[in-house]
């Protein structure tokens, strides 16, 4: 058997490992093994590649592996779980730029004399890889707070984006028709794509970032697959296609959970920096202000409690003390569970990770569809740092931006407790009538302070 055949078989094995790895992610019991399988697949592919007879020198490879490995390892160890979205955004960006660089190097090395179809795939690889790179950097800057989270809309923004898109298509056609000028086309494509990545992400508001990160995740996979076409390498194509599909599914799930179309998210420029104030008529109704002591007494008498954590909880760093509170209640025989809305947090599944970090076992973390019917038989629904995802206006108020968005049926619980800083509206700017309901107990204050007081009261009894 020659080396070429061995290499291809080993790459096939690596691809199978990736597929098995993703398959094992279907359950939290096997997920860690799945990740290790995918990791092993990558290791096998890398080791096999090092035997490639085209590789004549190793010093730069070793430098690259050490530098990249060290940066990746430190980042993975140090990152806080609340910062996971920007971390993933950054990693997406690195994946994108790697694809661009490889495609460019291949084109340059072959003096443009790549296979006929490669003129198309090189262009696509450069284009998608670069858009992923600059787009991810902007997403990172927004999430990290380096840039304002609010949408930034330039004059004629839509037209500019459309022109960039048309320019990209024209450039790809030119690259195919006049392959002699391959370097020129490649450089212009990278330039246009770099600008497009930026103008594509800056008009998207902070609250819509989960969609953008998912989409860029998908792009990083598609860029890798396109590079696979350039190199004629099937493992890149398979791995890239898997990631591309994954990102697309997550993008769709996020859009459905927000009841928004992808077009509306990408071009709607919806959202503010957060904490929007409700517009319209001045609020005249009053709410009853309860104390943590009132809430503690109420919860002790309850048989079942559902906790609804929102991102505000994580911002206040109150997850750990909340878990402590839940544990005290459970030890007293109260049935406690958590209801997790799909868009809770800043990326798909983010809230689950934040709660898992606070030692909440995953059996208690229930997704919306699994728990929504249980609210009606629940004594207390405790909402902390969430607002839009529990706003009943989403069900019937046709002119509301929230209308049609699936929400948690918190209003069906016998008593609703809402821990909040003020009566302000959520991201969508829609007032929440649940605050004024007779069965609602509003507890104003910082989430961490309120829950700490709750724990104190529960311990005293």
């Amino acid at each position: 058997m020659n080396m070429e055949i061995i290499t291809r078989i080993v790459y096939l094995v690596a691809a199978v490992f990736f597929i098995l790895g993703l398959k094992n992610l279907s359950s939290p019991k096997t997920a860690r093994r799945g990740n290790l399988l995918a990791m092993s697949g990558m290791l096998i592919a890398v080791i096999m590649t090092l035997f490639d007879r085209n590789i004549v020198s190793f010093e730069y490879i070793i430098i690259g592996l050490i530098v990249g490995g060290a940066i990746g390892a430190v980042a993975a160890k140090k990152v806080q779980m609340t910062s996971m979205p920007q971390m993933v955004a950054l990693f997406n960006g690195f994946g994108g730029i790697a694809s661009t660089l490889v495609a460019f190097a291949e084109l340059y090395q072959a003096h443009g004399d790549v296979a006929v179809h490669a003129n198309l795939t090189v262009s696509l690889s450069l284009l998608i890889g670069t858009v992923t790179f600059t787009g991810s950097l902007i997403a990172y800057a927004k999430l990290q707070g380096i840039m304002r989270g609010a949408p930034i809309v330039l004059p004629l923004h839509q037209i500019l984006n459309t022109l960039l898109l048309i320019a990209s298509v024209v450039l790809i056609v030119l690259a195919i028709m006049y392959p002699g000028e391959y370097l020129l086309w490649a450089i212009i494509i990278v330039g246009v794509a770099a600008i497009f990545g930026i103008t594509f992400v800056i008009p998207i508001g902070g609250a819509d970032m989960p969609v953008v990160i998912s989409l860029l995740n998908s792009y990083s996979g598609i860029a890798a697959a396109m590079t696979g076409f350039v190199l004629g390498n099937s493992v890149l194509i398979i791995a890239g296609a898997l990631v591309g599909a994954s990102g697309l599914i997550l993008t769709n799930i996020m859009c459905v959970a927000m009841n928004r179309s992808l077009t509306n998210v990408l071009f709607g420029a919806v959202g503010t920096d957060g904490g929007a104030t409700a517009s319209g008529e001045k609020e005249t109704r009053t709410v009853t202000n309860y104390t943590p002591v009132d809430a503690a007494i109420m919860m002790e008498q309850a048989q079942s409690v559902i906790i609804v954590p929102g991102y505000g909880l994580a911002v206040a760093q109150a997850q750990h003390v909340l878990q402590e509170m839940a544990q005290i209640l459970m030890d007293q025989g109260v049935k406690v569970r958590y209801a997790i809305h799909p868009v809770a947090g800043r990326m798909p599944g983010h809230m689950n990770v934040l709660m898992a970090e606070a030692n909440v076992s995953y059996d208690l973390l229930l997704e919306m569809d699994a728990i929504n019917d249980d609210f009606q038989d629940t004594d207390v629904a405790l909402v902390i740092g969430a607002n839009d995802v529990i706003n009943p206006a989403a069900r019937y108020k046709k002119d509301s931006p929230l209308y049609g968005m699936p929400i948690l049926n918190v209003d069906q619980a016998r008593t609703v407790m809402i821990v909040k800083r003020s009566l302000g509206a959520g991201f969508a700017g829609e007032a929440n009538e649940l605050f004024f309901d007779d069965k609602t107990m509003m507890i104003f204050g910082d989430a961490k302070k309120v829950v700490t007081d709750l724990v104190k009261t529960l311990k005293e009894e």
Binding site: K29, A31, T49, I71, F94, L250, I253, M347, A356, N359
Partner: protein
């Protein structure tokens, strides 16, 4: 391999991806994203050859940058996923039996 074979692989892999990913529960969507981040670092394979082939300075430099980027992607992606998945623990049954 010819374009059509590559394209066939691509299309089939997308279908496999859809089948696999729809079975991942929302509970694990963040680890799924970071883990698939690691997988998309597969470009490392191409970057290694570009760097080590010793063709020209430019190709080597581009390759080196690609190796660094892809390695950050692979190592960071898989490691952070492992760190997260380690935190996902089931309920301790014994303690739960308490009346």
């Amino acid at each position: 391999m010819d374009l059509l074979s590559l394209f066939t692989i691509f299309v089939l892999a997308i279908f496999v991806g859809f089948e696999l990913i729809t079975k991942v529960p929302p509970l694990l969507h963040t680890p799924l994203m970071s883990g698939s981040n690691g997988i998309s670092g597969i470009t490392i394979v191409g970057s290694l050859v570009a760097t080590g082939a010793g063709h020209s300075t430019l190709a080597t430099v581009l390759g080196l940058l690609a190796v660094i980027s892809a390695t950050i992607n692979v190592v960071g992606g898989f490691m952070v996923t492992d760190r997260m998945l380690e935190m996902f623990k089931p309920k301790k049954d014994k303690k739960d039996a308490k009346e």
